[in-house]
């Protein structure tokens, strides 16, 4: 009642018991099927076949040994003449109930030793099989209990739990007890053999027998092989044959089913199959002819061990070879990784390199600004020093660029510039300083003017020369004559009196004066144009300050345009941009 009156807190799913049981059963089933498939050799590789061959030979050897042991035991108890029939009886039980002869022989041997009677032993073995199938006990313990009971010791029989009371065990004879047990457990072994598990067991027995038969055949086959290549070939052939045989077995299954439908044909005989049957029979005869007379012997096993060692050695060599190749590949991969790392570092270095350029330009701009604020010689010297260093750095960068571009001329020029800058820096560092040098350095920071206070006199003189050359008058020259423009000197219209004159005369005068002024203006424009042409033709007009050279080579026009734009922007920011013509 109180079962539901509870509050569960933080539950955990641990799975259902029924699910676990089902999973376990499925696992068991799949393991059995896998084991059977493995035993039948449906999926073998070369190594697996060799291993299977070894097991098969071992199984064949053990089977032969068990047969001999049973025969010896029967001989010792006086049942030697029944050895062959006993072996046939065991084989029959094996195929009927799906129990391996490895278990049946010891069980029969135990009973035969106790009873010393073939018929009684077989009766008790049948009973043991029924009891074992019904109770789940192993066959060995049941036969042991029965054999002891046969000899008068009922304790083990009472412990089997077969439903016989102690009173019955004491009162009844062994025959009565076994008769009662036969009635109780009648048909148990047969029923168990007819289940699915029983069918699997039967197949397992058939596979084990096949394994033993193959093992015997292998011993004979290996005697004729020379080296490991032969084993390889044999393994491959066996693999092919195994696959082929599996298909044949399936085909035989179908064929047997079909034959059942034909009147007068009870079972399959290979020789009944047209053509192929003849070939199979031929191989069968060939195999029988080559079958060793002495069965399994030590020589065959030793030969197999030798071949296996060779095979293993060969595999080891292959593995070593593969490992070496893997090492090489690993080494190459490591080298590549190192190169990638180096490239990454270089690319980072390039970024730094660019940063150097940027910082250098900024520092130079800063020095130019400081120059304007300098008030004494010490500051000028400091600025000159810093500027020289920056110039050296700039030259280094330019040289690196030149080296990267592999342009010999550029490299030579950059080297020369670097040497010059280093020379200046060396002079500054050594305090071997001349004022002229400082001035030169500082002048490099100043914007280049076309005409300034320094060259004003020279410019005026030059302009004067230009004027004279073009026939113009010099400043403060004669008041007579004709100017270069063709206008007479002091040629002007005399003013008229505005009082007492007619309005028409005044208007006429004004028109004339305007026409004359316009004529003078035109002449002045012509003179300016001529002056400009003369200036451009002079050394001032052709100075480098008006020409921007962009060393971009042949490339992207946009890149060139951006470079020009950058130069002009920098100049505008520095305040050194005077004017530039737009196309």
């Amino acid at each position: 009642m109180a079962a539901d009156v509870k509050i569960d807190i933080a539950a955990e799913f641990t799975g259902k018991k029924a699910f676990r049981q089902a999973e376990t059963a499925t696992d068991k089933m799949s393991k059995n099927v896998k084991k059977l498939a493995g035993t039948l050799g449906l999926a073998f590789g070369g190594q697996a076949i060799l291993s299977y061959g070894k097991k098969a030979i071992k199984a064949a050897a053990e089977d032969e040994k068990a047969q001999k042991q049973l025969a010896l035991a029967l001989k010792n108890v006086g049942l030697e003449r029944d050895a062959a029939s006993t072996e046939a009886y065991i084989q029959n039980l094996q195929s009927e109930f799906g129990i391996l002869d490895d278990k049946l022989r010891p069980a029969y041997q135990t009973l035969a030793i106790a009873t010393q009677d073939t018929a009684e032993s077989q009766r008790l073995l049948n009973l043991s099989l029924d009891i074992a199938a019904s109770t789940g006990k192993d066959l060995g313990s049941v036969t042991s209990a029965l054999s002891r009971a046969y000899l008068g010791n009922n304790t083990a029989l009472s412990k089997l739990g077969v439903g016989i009371s102690k009173a019955d065990l004491k009162a009844k004879s062994f025959q009565d007890i076994t008769n009662e047990l036969q009635e109780t457990f009648a048909g148990s072994a047969q029923s168990a053999a007819n289940t699915f598990q029983g069918s699997i067991d039967k197949l397992g027995v058939a596979a084990a027998n096949a394994s033993e038969i193959i093992g015997t055949g292998l011993i004979d086959a290996l005697k004729g092989l020379g080296d490991e290549d032969s084993v390889d070939n044999l393994a491959k052939s066996m693999e092919s044959v195994a696959t082929y045989t599996a298909d044949v077995i399936r085909g035989i299954g179908v064929l047997v089913e079909k034959l059942k439908g034909l009147p007068g044909i009870g079972a399959l005989d290979v020789q009944m199959i047209p053509i192929i049957g003849a070939y199979i029979s031929y191989f069968n005869q060939l195999g029988k002819a080559s079958q060793g007379g002495n069965g399994i012997n030590a020589q065959g096993l030793a030969h197999l061990a030798e071949l296996q060692a060779k095979y293993t050695s060969e595999i080891l060599k292959d593995k070593k070879k593969i490992t070496q190749e893997e090492n090489k590949a690993l080494k190459a991969a490591r080298l590549k990784a190192a190169l990638d790392k180096a490239n990454l570092a270089l690319s980072k270095g390039e970024e730094v390199f660019d940063m150097d350029k940027i910082q250098n330009a900024a520092a130079l701009a800063s020095q130019a600004e400081q120059l304007g604020k300098a008030t004494n010689g010490t500051q000028l010297l400091q600025i000159a020093n810093d500027t020289a260093r920056l110039n050296v750095k700039k030259s280094i960068l330019a040289l690196e660029d030149a080296m990267a571009s592999k342009d010999e001329a550029a490299i030579t020029a950059a080297t020369k510039k670097l040497n010059a800058d280093i020379g200046i820096l060396g002079a500054l560092t050594g305090q071997d300083l001349k004022l002229a040098n400082i001035k030169t350095i500082l002048d490099s920071l100043k914007p280049k003017d076309l005409i300034n206070l320094m060259n004003l006199e020279a410019a005026l003189a030059l302009l004067g020369k230009i004027n004279v050359a073009t026939g113009g008058s010099t400043a403060g020259g004669s008041s007579t004559g004709v100017a270069a423009s063709g206008i007479p000197v002091n040629d002007f219209i005399a003013p008229i009196s505005t009082s007492g004159g007619s309005i028409a005369a005044i208007l006429e005068y004004a028109d004339a004066a305007t026409a004359r002024a316009n004529a003078f203006a035109d002449l002045l424009d012509m003179q300016n144009a001529a002056d400009a042409a003369a200036f451009n033709a002079s050394s001032l007009g052709t100075s480098a300050g008006n020409t921007i050279i962009v060393n971009t080579g042949i490339g992207d026009p946009n890149a060139i345009a951006e470079a020009i734009d950058q130069v002009l922007t920098d100049a505008a920011q520095r305040g050194t941009l005077r004017q530039y013509a737009t196309p």
């Binding site: 009156v5 807190i9 539950a11 955990e12």
Partner: protein
């Protein structure tokens, strides 16, 4: 519907095996969380019998279900050890229980049939050796009342409801699918659980999580 936690059972085993002190500490923490709820639930158990006749001892069907306030209060408790798996395969890591017969009845009366069970029909006893052979008696299934009073169930439940109404402590989890649980209703432990509003549940899970962290620290520390 308890919150599902993964690995707590294994964690508890590991705690008990490698850090017994930490295992005990965790149990104590969980107990400390659940104790106030059980105390409150005990407070909801009436000190006097809800129906005057229920407390009278008798030997009939209700012989072992006689009302006892002290027994009902004692029956309310908590467990901090994992339960056995239920039919769905879940194991509760901790739980609050109302274990006594009378306490369980008080807890759940009217939970399924708020108006009491329907009256079972009258049927003649035809078994010759039966003590009531030839008589008309009420014979029904578990869901039917065999009382001759058709309102017996209703009166019983009303008497319970006068002391405390049934409270639904079901808390639907976020994104939870399926039908809501109908077994999270009651007058004592479920009421106390509902009033706690899930704080204890969260605290228990946190205590388990904390123990996991402590355990990992201890193990790494070693």
């Amino acid at each position: 519907m308890p919150t599902e936690v993964k690995g707590a059972i294994e964690l508890r085993k590991a705690l008990r095996q490698f850090t017994p002190d930490l295992a005990k500490e965790t149990q104590k923490e969980i107990a400390a969380i659940l104790k106030p709820i059980t105390a409150k639930a005990r407070g909801f158990i009436p000190s006097s019998t809800p129906l005057s006749g229920w407390a009278k001892s008798n030997n009939g069907t209700w012989g072992n279900r006689t009302w006892s306030s002290s027994e009902a209060k004692r029956g309310v408790g908590y467990k901090t050890s994992p339960s056995k798996p239920n039919r769905s395969g879940f194991r509760a890591l901790a739980r609050i229980v109302n274990a006594s017969p009378s306490g369980s009845i008080y807890e759940t009366a009217g939970r399924l049939n708020p108006q009491g069970r329907p009256q079972a029909p009258l049927a003649e006893v035809v078994a010759p050796g039966h003590s009531n052979f030839g008589k008309m008696i009420r014979s029904g299934s578990k869901g039917e009342s065999v009382s001759n009073n058709p309102n017996a169930g209703q009166q019983f439940i009303d008497a319970m409801n006068r002391t405390s109404l049934i409270v639904n402590a079901y808390q639907r989890q976020e994104g939870q699918r399926g039908r809501a649980s109908r077994k999270m209703k009651g007058r004592a432990i479920f009421r106390a659980w509902a009033e706690d509003q899930g704080k204890a549940n969260a605290a228990v899970i946190k205590a388990i999580e904390d123990s996991k962290v402590k355990f990992e620290q201890r193990v790494k520390g070693k």
